[in-house]
Symmetry: C2
Subunit: 344 residues, 2 copies
């Protein structure tokens, strides 16, 4: 198959391997026009393609980064990945994508494999575990950036949404539209899943700040698959919430399923607001008021920070970047009569 090596080129051009290597690396300084041409011709003639693996071995750099995600099907993942890929293209880097399936064991395995493959850095949508592994990486100054989530206690760059702000946006918007009895829906809370905690905590905080009731029953946290069941219980009971805050796109989908199956009208019976701007938000009926994450900017930043770490390997103080959420006003929340601090 492809067997042409630098030695072949050298022989044909009647120069040494070293000279060919210089040529390829554009170190023309002390190279005669004549030699340069001969090498170019030889390369052309043989259809020579350098073997990057060999180069990597010597240079100890692969121009490849690893990205480990906990859910490759999640829309946020894909969009951020897209931005990362684009940034890497510009720099001539390649991206190896691995899916941990939110399993810390797998995550650890991939970290090890990617390191063995000598990737130049790692961007991780982490499970939130494997603290020891990440701690070691940080100590060794291995380039590392967390996205979306992070590992508490590990001092590494992290690109996150300003989750509290996002929750506050939701609450403030609902409050200003006259809603008081507001519920939240989320997957099970776990201390190592940072955004979940922050969003729920931010939600609770915003409620109290706005002087709205914090009703325990209105916090629906359940496995995605049983959210519908839990909602059914909630709505079967006495007074259901007037509005629901969906912590992410997956829970929003479940809520939409629920309201559709139960003939609940949005926004008349129930107002809806969610984090993550789903692609169908403005063709749904009603169109969906959402809080969007700047996914592209987040991916770009993640890549940038990683490159920064890769080029200057000295110390650098890890930073946590909080990206601002944006409320996209549509029609799943509407003005209610009984309030006096909102508009119209």
């Amino acid at each position: 198959m492809k067997k042409v090596t630098m030695a072949d080129v050298a022989k044909l051009a009647n120069v040494s391997k070293s000279t060919v290597s210089q040529y390829l690396n554009k170190r023309y300084e002390y190279m005669s026009e004549e030699t340069r041409k001969r090498i170019a011709r030889a390369i052309e003639e043989l259809g020579y393609q350098p073997n990057i693996i060999a180069r990597s071995l010597k240079q100890k750099t692969t121009a490849t980064i690893g990205v480990i995600v906990f859910n490759i099907l999640h829309m946020l993942t894909i969009q951020v990945l897209h931005a990362i890929e684009e940034a890497c293209q510009e720099r001539g880097f390649h991206v190896i994508v691995s899916n941990s399936d939110d399993d810390p064991e797998k995550e650890k395995k991939y970290i090890d494999m990617l390191l063995a493959k000598q990737v130049d850095g790692l961007i991780v949508f982490t499970t939130g575990k494997n603290e020891d592994v990440y701690q070691r990486l940080v100590e060794e100054r291995f380039p590392l950036v967390f996205v979306d989530r992070m590992v508490p206690g590990v001092e590494a760059d992290a690109i996150l949404l300003d989750n509290k702000r996002a929750a506050a946006l939701a609450v403030e918007y609902l409050a200003s539209h006259g809603y008081e009895r507001i519920g939240a829906v989320a997957p099970p809370l776990a201390s190592h899943v940072v955004p979940r905690m922050e969003r729920i905590e931010g939600f609770r905080q915003a409620l109290t700040e706005k002087g709205l009731p914090v009703i325990a029953d209105y916090f629906v946290t359940a496995e995605i698959s049983s959210i519908q069941r839990e909602l059914a219980k909630l709505f079967a009971s006495g007074r259901p919430p007037e509005a629901l805050f969906a912590i992410n796109d997956l829970t929003l989908m479940k809520i939409l399923h629920f309201v559709k199956n139960n003939g609940i009208h949005v926004p008349d019976d129930l107002a809806l607001i969610s984090i993550d701007d789903v692609p169908f938000a403005d063709i749904y009926t009603p169109t969906l008021t959402t809080i969007a994450q700047p996914t592209f900017a987040m991916g770009k930043k993640a890549a940038e920070r990683l490159f920064m770490q890769i080029v200057r390997k000295q110390k650098h103080k890890p930073q946590i970047f909080r990206f601002p959420p944006t409320l996209i006003e549509r029609k799943s929340v509407r003005q209610r009569g009984n309030n006096n601090d909102g508009r119209r």
Copy 2:
């Protein structure tokens, strides 16, 4: 950082590099229990991790495949990618993902870069161009599998939807529900974009087979961004179609936008059926009747075929696999009065 090499292990264990290598490759045949233990201890003690790059150089195999996609944000891409990634995980392979953005130039560049990086094979969601490049790969017996699209004239494995069947399913379903004046919506046709051509051709064929009128005006093919405008024209004219067949998810979205903006009621004013099962199909109102592609099976098959080519590098006759579409009946098409070959 990580500098422990095999030589270090060898020295500490008081054996030769060769022996350590044997040990790592589990060639224990002629190795004393004693030696084995010493090596194990040394590895443990030094925290040694082998450098896969070095191994790759000698073995000429990287356990890495390249996947080039023309649109990383497309749902089909992601789902197939997911399956590919999973299959690779099982085999200990890594996946480098590149996004060509449907630009043949970029595609070519990535092929070259991935080859330089010595990937063991390539799965390509191709732009349909670069025939010469692919032809060379095939001649060199380089492992290659096309997915979704293919390059006409290049004899390589291809994993495709049975596009004609999919179009026929749509037409037959609409016909059996009493629809006669059926339109199709697609991005611009181009001979190198195989699925588009096949779906439209299959649609036309199915119409004639069912004895339904083939109306030129009802074929809306336009850049995604101008589909809404074209639809507006079509519906402003005399007799609009009773049903629309969307060739993929992107066109479906545009149609949904259009009907929403223009107060057209689905399915009463207009029936809708589309290829690609969008995630919101069963929470939309009405729920959407779609024709799903077996994306996971397709990805799995693509990986399998590639592995097949990777392990036995001899000749193998390239095959085109046509995967069967599945009609998922929901509510965007309903029974009409005036027909007599349908059910109900």
